[in-house]
Amino acid sequence: MAKVTIDGITIDVPDGTTILNAARMIGGEIVPPAMCYYSKLKTSGGYCRTCIVKVTKGSEKDPRPMPKPVASCRTTVMDGMEVQNITSPDLLEARAGVVEFLLLNHPLDCPVCDQAGECHLQDLAYNNGKAETRYAFPRREFERRDIGNNVQLHMNRCILCYRCVKVADQLTDGRVHGVINRGEVAEISTYIDNVIENEMSGNVIDVCPVGALTDKTFRFKSRVWYTKPVDAHRDCDKCCGKVRLWYKGEEVLRVTARKDQYGEVEDWICNTCRFDKKETSQWTIEGPSKISRDSVISANHYESLQSLRKATKEQLANALPHGEKVQAGQGALNPNNQKQ
């Protein structure tokens, strides 16, 4: 076991845990954002640098601070380590720089993009970025491309997080999906129009943190916040069959896997469930999905007064010990907050 202190909160974690996962065990606002790390995919992380933290004390034995911010998804904890995330203004400045770099070639076509409203890059830019860009050069442009019949690749929007490549590598056999070229000209490729035919290939849509890989059957059907998420399941011989249906009126516009508070899927689903089962009669409905009150998806969906009262009460209870540090809305929905 190693004792690690993140933003003044101490926790004991098993040896070999990364700083990011230790922070997630604590929960709340101190969890660094992550664009490329995905706990369900092996060897993911280390590309995007959004999860950087400042290590102010290396360990009990060697208390020197680390000279530069480190990627918390790839750095394991040491006994006695002290880490700063949101308590360090320097680090927040550095993270804003990372966001600026991620947005360098991003087309900012959110009004057109189907991911808008559940896009991690959008959240990241809003929470950690700056309002203006200093980039004056032409952004790189690619033709949009079909990967199979159901997935569309908008390379313009890609931030090269490699999550989809890891999915193709670890979930499907006979990988036909990778990153070609390097540096500024790197791009996600299927080795010249080789379609992904594997049953689990649709999961690349769910892992994509931006709108680079989107569901073609949902293309321009509706904005995310006009659809109503409902948890449902069915007996599926290829996957767990536990999904989230996105309704508009009586119509199922989209089927996705269920995602947790970090935007990671709870369980992978197969292409049959995702693309071919779009009738209510094919599913057993469990009930409406829990959506964070801060999410735009919850806009215009009214919860009962009772649950609102409860959330307010929780929020007040959480806010008091921290003083001004707790921002409105955040943290209150995280059950782990009780531990602090």
Partner: protein, 201 residues
Amino acid sequence: MSLSNRSVVVSKKEMSWSERLYLPAILGGMAITIKHLFKRKPTIKYPEEVREIAPVYRGQHVLKRDEAGAERCTACGLCAVACPAEAITMESAERKKGEENLYREEKYARIYEINMLRCIFCGLCEEACPKEAIFLTDRIVPSSFTRGAEVYGKDKLVETLEQPVDVSARQRPEVLEFKQDKKHNHNQTHLDKKAVRRSGH
């Protein structure tokens, strides 16, 4: 028993002779009427006459086109999510090849409807629009005989090429100046983009 102490008992006493004649009361009423004939009229003869309104008056909406005549709206839905009266609905469609002169972005609003009976003319849609597509204008929404006629579709909302709606009075000078800058994607028409592509990048 009275609770408010403001109740008055109605008295039905018999009218006097002069009251029964009614003439003084009628003459009194006529005097008031005739006095008003010589006062200034508070009403105007709309639509022949129009009241003076502020240049930023929030009246009927317009969906703008860009300088090349392409519709600016991309059906992003931000106006509808901002609308406190939930008056706006839309449905999007994908632009086909060769329609670049009709729609600016690869997605456009196939259906765009504002229910003028629900609209409270607050202007939040205008504020939310990232594409400078929707503006409220100084035009007054006319009344109609049916409710259905008050749901305005694209036929009534999108400005025509022949009669563009001028909304420059509603924009700050800095914004107007920014819009001249063709370096920004926001200000480029499909013709500008084509020219840029031809020139190298």
